[in-house]
């Protein structure tokens, strides 16, 4: 499923990011790497998504979040 469809409070593993742009590298540098466990904190203003990876909180705009494929943990 897409990250945007992950309900608040639910954890999932990142499977892939479906873009070839430089955003892939920055997402990985921020911790959103294939296999990483992310937990959805909720939807932010403007359609963004707030996730945690370990103790780190990351905000991702809605368009980019819709490019991230995850699998429920």
């Amino acid at each position: 499923m897409l990250l945007t469809a992950l309900p608040p409070g639910v954890a999932a593993h990142v499977r892939a990011v479906s873009t070839e742009s430089g955003a892939v590298l920055r997402l990985r540098e921020m911790g959103l790497r294939p296999g990483a466990l992310v937990r959805m904190m909720g939807r932010g203003a403007g359609g963004s998504r707030i996730v945690t990876i370990g103790a780190a909180r990351i905000a991702i705009d809605g368009v980019t979040a819709a490019l991230i494929d995850v699998e429920a943990a």
């Binding site: 904190m41 403007g46 103790a55």
Partner: protein
Amino acid sequence: MSAPGACHGGGARAVVATTSPVGTASLATASRVPSILLVGNPNVGKSTLFNALTRARQRVVNAPGTTVELACGVWCPECDDVTLVDLPGTYSLIARSPDEQVAADAVHDPSHDLAVVVLDATALSRSLYLLGQVARAGRPVVAALTMIDLAEARGLAPNAAALSTALGVPVIEANGRTGKGLQELASAVTEALKNPCHVKGVARHDTAGVARHSTAGVGPHDDADDLPGNLTEAQQLFDWVETITDAAASSADPRATLTDHLDRVLLNPWVGPAAFLAVVWGVFQLTTVVASPLMDAVTRTVQGPVAGWVSAALVAVGAPSWFSSFVVGGVLAGVGTVLSFVPLMAIMFASVSALESTGYLARVAVVADRAMRALGLDGRAMLPLIVGFGCNVPALSATAVLPHARQRLLTGLLVPLTSCTARLAVYLLLAHTFFPHSAGTVVFGMYVASVALVIGGGLLARHTVMRDLKPEPLIIALPDYQLPHLRTLAIGVWTRIASFTRKAGSVIVVAVMVLWALQAIPVRGGHDVADVPVADSVYGAVAQSVAPGLAPMGLDDWRIAASLVAGIAAKEVVIGALAQSYALEDAKGDAKSASLGKQLRATVERTSDGAAGAAALALMVFVLAYLPCLATLAEQRRLYGLRWTVAAGSAQFAGAYGLAVLVFQVGRLL
């Protein structure tokens, strides 16, 4: 050119720039003071640590050839001074913005002796990735582990000793707020300068090989640049990071903290934007309620007792009257204008710094992202635009947070439409004079108008000259909320105010002195120099020729025209120029005891045929938008070139004129 991260004049030593093997210049000092870089992700407590280590022995400089600011200081780890450079926060040395490029260039410059890499205990994996890149660049490393208390609150504090063992370099738990661990950090750095430590398990590149990421003159990476190669190199570091976190970090589920609860409110799609507007409104209430009386007090002191003492002293030493007039009416008036502006700047800088250090500005980027996307920008563009409400000049520098040149250009062209605090002083005078019972609302309305102009200007540009602009993805770390650290805040405000008085202050003083000279030189009537009615001076003649152009906005008066011409030099000169015109008339006996506000009201009542309120609003709108100050224009020209600066300025002037005429013509009918 000297090295990225090189400190020019940091401390008391002479600094000499030399050329390094990688093409960037290197820092050297007469006595070869060791140079240490402070490297870390944004919002990891790096600047707090820097302030705790260097205290007041620091200054802000621009990285050579850029508008990126660096703080450089002198640190005395164990009684031998070293130069400490606080690099811009970055997530990666594969740069995607000018700030990140400066950090990457500095790390790859071999003239720096050591990197102190700040590791965020709440985001260890991300911090270790950056540390791995620093190690790969060949820099000896000491690690400072911060945010331990916040990681403990989440039940995820890493083990510093295990981390040190796994990395093979010293890892010191340090807290710039409390001072904890600073002595241990000093000892570790002193030892590392004697016996450099390199991180285990990361293959070091030679500097020339790595410099392909960072060669001077090459900008931040575009999307297509070397992506497969970068991903491969990054993956090697990700694998290494995993081995380190397996050895030293907790894998438990994090506990929810106050930050999580606050974020549910402050990032909420409905409450978030309202909370943001409330915060902005609060900041501007602070500037109007607190700064206004302080400005008045400074102005009264300079124009009253100080001017009196200086005049008396000049008379006592037998100075000619024209010289006394120049000193009091030119130099002292200029200095008084600058000083009166300081409280406003201090409050605005303190407010923005406090918002940043609490972690709220990162949330602003999220809350504002959708709105900014309509302009082809992302939420990060909100930061320079907010800074613009303090002062347009640092706001132009803040556009460096944006990764692409076109985004920086558009944001930089919109910045002059944000209403800086200099314009606030004009609104305050006009609002209190013409709308005494609703001055606060009128001033707030001017800020709403400023936001509307930014949006309108952005949309216009997006559909004309910026059609190719694509928004960048917003991927941003949200730090834990913290109370601002007062000492860090105070040092930051002091440094910025000092920079303002040096850079803008000199322009303002010179502008006021030039105004005095224009008013002192007669063009008709056979008057002596410095003893001429303003109407017969060069200044009056120019203003009289311009004034009819203001008739459609109900402001056909040479004094108002003159103040607007003077305001191109600096907006804070507008009031000074008005006061100067009326004061000079006072000297000739006209309108002797009326205050500036009363005289201005009488003038506008006459020029607007009784629609003074509409004309005053038109004047405020015109002052908001007609042209940025000289310092802003100069910075725009430096960043974007003459063509863009002239084109944007012309469009802004035409738009301001049209709007002001519209406001008056509609307002007079109501």
